[in-house]
Symmetry: C2
């Protein structure tokens, strides 16, 4: 079943981003390549059996609110969660002491990308539990860890992250959920949260909501937000479970990801909702950002892997559907050819491929940085975190925004059929559309990039990225076939720094509003540059194998395809980075605008 | 109810594209400005009352196949069709002798754009009937006209265009529906058609299918295709209606436009389907292209007006939703501001606006050319047709492709709420997505543009377009505030001709495959140039009023907004034309590709 290329995943893991480099660290010292290969095989087999065959049906029979706090979910969801947990795909990356296998994020996310491509809505349940459990192990007391984490890793209990409130949306400053301390070690919580993914469903027995709330008397704004563990059913001293007054008041019906419950939670309506503080008071947002940063990569990867599945769906259709004839020989007496032979269909396919494979490569670059930072220490450690911080919003945004375009192209390859519900192309298009909104919209990611990340440590992260890009370009210079791409990448990088210099004059003058007003255009430009870097990296790796004649891992045509796709990216996509630079280097429109009611009419 | 700006429509009609110019022609001599203003008012009132309030509900209760050839449609559909027909909105553009009012297409489509913005799925029923009736009046005998057209214009009978067949798709060469001549003046028809919009529903009593079929013994390919009038119920000599063996075998369930029936028709399953030849044998495709060309503008306009409605939905949300604070004063104790005050939200709104209003302006440019060509004669007449032929695929494609982006931005403005079915943003996103497929996909429009239109009459159409663009740029030179835009437009035009020169070397060498391989990128580039031209035209008109201080028609802020949006377009959108040129001027990837099974894996 074709929804993702495991060959590409292996190419990235072993030939481009070299997971093998991690084995030298004590934390990952128990692993070898063969084990990882087997893990990928078993993830694919699981996805083939439990996930992909239910992908369409779970959309057609979506999550439904049943009233009385209950949410109906497809029965297969339970099978998926329990079987994935049985293979340790929720807790695999955790420490041994927490029940994990100390698997690198690179590998964990490779498996998750297979699950996503097979059935994007259901992988979220696994990913959320893993992230929530990791927050508890990172910042929780041993008691909290013992109480919650094992049940989460075995798939019996669902973890969630509960940030958004109706009146606040993306503005976490305005979080109003309150937590009143008691003498008994817990807080009494009251408030409402919306858009809580996996907040209630039929596949798990309990729900562990990692919830942002404000301790009574806390400072205003984000500096007064704390993080709580709030279960739906609280474990009592005798081992029984008591209802903890977390009520699911509804489920949002959505454009896509219709098998993924998106709930409205009410805490403490009966005055009996207890929350346990995680870590220290008022540091909730900092803690949550650990999960959030991982979740942002996760959302980007979800976009990329969903677009992968759409790509393979459209590739299959294009290979099988006969229609039309080559333009050079339009004889109606000849039989029609498969549409994949038409240039425009090939362009639509290779565009999807460039977006999908480039995004997955960037996700793996990020995960490797995380793994290295996690396993190592010293100065390199700090630099790895910095670079990861810089790349995270770019990864999330490029994959989401360009993923929308990719799935739209998948529909287009199928033509009229692509618009019907008989085919999955439209489902991928709907499913993917949320990714530019989850975990911080594109606008927020762009503010994060330009407003925070670019300036961190006096621009150290940007400097590290530039070095990495130039290093790849230098490696590409060795190969005449890649020279043009290397030059184009260097030019694009140079333009990026011109833009930054131009914009920073506004920041220096204290006009942060103007500095960031086109942050989204800056983000778009940066996306092309960073994905161009990934493509050049892949092309260099492929060209090395082609020149050595080393086809022990992949066919020759596989490597040629990487070169071609890289060249395609530089020819068709990279020029738009220049267009963005052109926009950014002009004077702004915003300052000229005459506000007024009529302006908008 | 805000879903389209009638102020913008009036601005285009009377100040930019000047419908008044038509009144000097005999065909339109009965009209005056006041009448047209009243027509717009009455169209808006009709849309407000009958269409917009049902937009969401008709999506939630979509068309359904009931079996036995019957298709359920929302009861409001009948009200809409009958009331629109009663105001003559189906036949308004027809000649007096056919029951019409000889209303210019400019005005007809202005009204239709209001209907589309109010309820895009249902306007299609009106538009199809109008187009089908016009085909009959253009090429049919008086008997055919008398039999069908009055019932179509009064909304009792539905017209359709039946081209697509399951095995042929976009390849009309492969049409297989057969028509066997009889002694009785009709043909016996057998075959199947799919994706037939409005092919069966509950709002009309009869269906008049303008159907492409092949007369027995006809030449192969498109030269052997004829056009037939094939009713579902044929009028007998005694005035009664007899079932004509056109069976609706199903309705396609779609991503969007769910109130618009998309049917599967089976002709002659019982051997008793009669068709009446329209015009001469084997000329069916030529005739159909009259309707098709109008339909292409219609689809483009549907995209633009649907995006308009999405824009106003997101504008309203952005004006009302408080969230976050200005970046220059992030005090959590201050109340949040409406999100329209955030720069990125403004960027998303003005981008939508630039796409919507630019597209509607181009549609009106096209309609005026059609009106002039229709009313006048001589050399100018021929040039008007030529330019219209060139602009038609561009109008259709720009509005469809960029419309997808615009509706996606509308979702983004609403954030998480935009992804829920509680809001209409997601419905617009789904509805609009078909427009790049209807009536020839973007790939086919692009082949039409580069492969046919550009070369017509030795490039005369391109020459005419260039002249028109340079004329607008020259007018803009008068105003310092528009000088930069005028220069940018001239540069983009110059780049376009460099690209054409580069590509034409392939055509001259006979390699039509290579010449057209990047037709879609050429289309994208041309779209920016042509919409840039429209924006400059609007800006010149607005600036003239600002300088004259003539605010008799619009407020000052209205005109300022046009200038700003034009500047926005040139700053944010036009640079991407250069990016496309950059792509097109490089050597191709297609020729380098090593084909092979693995290539696609």
């Amino acid at each position: 079943m074709s929804y993702i290329s495991t060959a590409h995943l292996r190419f990235l893991l072993f030939e481009i981003h070299r997971v093998q480099d991690l084995f030298q660290y004590e934390f990952f010292g128990h692993l070898d390549e063969e084990q990882i290969q087997m893990m990928i095989d078993s993830a694919k087999a699981l996805a083939d059996r439990d996930m992909f065959p239910f992908f369409k049906e779970m959309d057609e029979k979506p999550v439904a609110y049943l009233g009385n706090g209950e949410v109906w979910t497809h029965p297969q969801l339970k099978t998926i969660i329990r079987n994935a947990a049985a293979q340790n795909w929720i807790g695999d990356a955790a420490r041994f002491e927490h029940g994990g296998m100390q698997v690198p994020e690179m590998v964990h996310n490779t498996a998750q990308s297979i699950f996503i491509a097979a059935n994007n809505s259901t992988q979220g349940y696994l990913g959320l539990t893993a992230g929530a459990a990791r927050l508890i192990t990172s910042f929780g007391t041993q008691a909290l860890i013992d109480t919650y984490v094992p049940k989460m890793y075995n798939g019996e209990w669902q973890g969630t992250m509960a940030l958004t409130e109706p009146q606040a949306g993306s503005s976490l400053t305005d979080i109003a959920t309150s937590a009143a301390p008691t003498q008994d070690g817990y807080y009494k919580v009251r408030g409402q949260k919306i858009f809580i993914s996996a907040g209630q469903h039929q596949a798990c027995d309990n729900f562990v909501h990692l919830t942002l709330a404000r301790i009574d008397g806390a400072p205003p704004g984000v500096k007064g937000i704390s993080l709580f563990v709030i279960p739906k059913f609280r474990p009592e001293a005798d081992g029984s479970l008591a209802y903890n007054d977390v009520f699911c008041a509804g489920d949002f019906q959505k454009l896509g990801q219709r098998a993924y419950a998106t709930t409205h939670l009410v805490y403490g309506d009966q005055g009996d909702c207890r929350g346990w503080l995680l870590g220290e008071p008022h540091k909730g947002l900092t803690y949550m950002f650990q999960m959030m940063n991982e979740a942002r990569i996760g959302v980007g990867l979800t976009a990329a892997a969903t677009a992968s599945a759409a790509y393979y769906a459209s590739l299959q259709y294009a290979s099988e559907r006969p229609q039309g004839r080559p333009l050079n020989s339009k004889n109606p007496l000849q039989p029609p050819v498969p549409i994949i032979q038409h240039a425009d269909v090939q362009r639509m396919l290779i565009t999807q491929r460039a977006i999908v494979e480039g995004s997955i490569s960037l996700a793996m670059e990020c995960n490797k940085l995380g793994d290295l930072a996690h396993a190592g220490d010293g100065a390199a450690h700090r630099d790895q975190w910095l670079l990861l911080e810089l790349l995270t919003p770019i990864m999330k945004t490029y994959a989401s925004e360009q993923g929308n375009r990719a799935t739209s192209l998948a529909i287009q390859v199928l033509g009229g059929y692509g618009y019907t519900v008989d085919f999955t192309a439209q489902q991928y298009y709907r499913d993917l559309r949320i990714m530019a909104i989850y975990e911080g919209t594109t606008g927020i990611q762009s503010l994060d990039l330009l407003g925070r990340k670019v300036g961190m440590d006096n621009g150290r992260a940007v400097q590290l990225l530039s070095q990495a890009i130039l290093q790849t370009a230098a490696a590409a210079d060795e190969y005449p076939v890649l020279k043009n791409c290397a030059d184009a990448l260097r030019r694009a990088l140079q333009r990026t720094s011109e833009v930054l210099q131009h914009l920073s004059s506004f920041a220096k003058a204290g006009d942060i509003e103007r500095y960031t007003s086109d942050a989204t255009v800056f983000m778009e430009m940066t996306g092309y540059v960073v994905i161009g870097w990934q493509w050049l990296k892949m092309a260099v790796g492929a060209q090395q194998c082609l020149e050595k004649g080393d086809f022990s891992r992949q066919h020759k045509a596989f490597y040629s395809a990487k070169i071609h796709t890289a060249q395609f990216f530089f020819r068709y996509e990279m020029p738009h980075a220049s267009a963005c630079a052109h926009t950014l280097l002009q004077e702004g429109w915003l300052t000229d605008v005459e506000a007024g009611e009529e302006w908008w009419q």
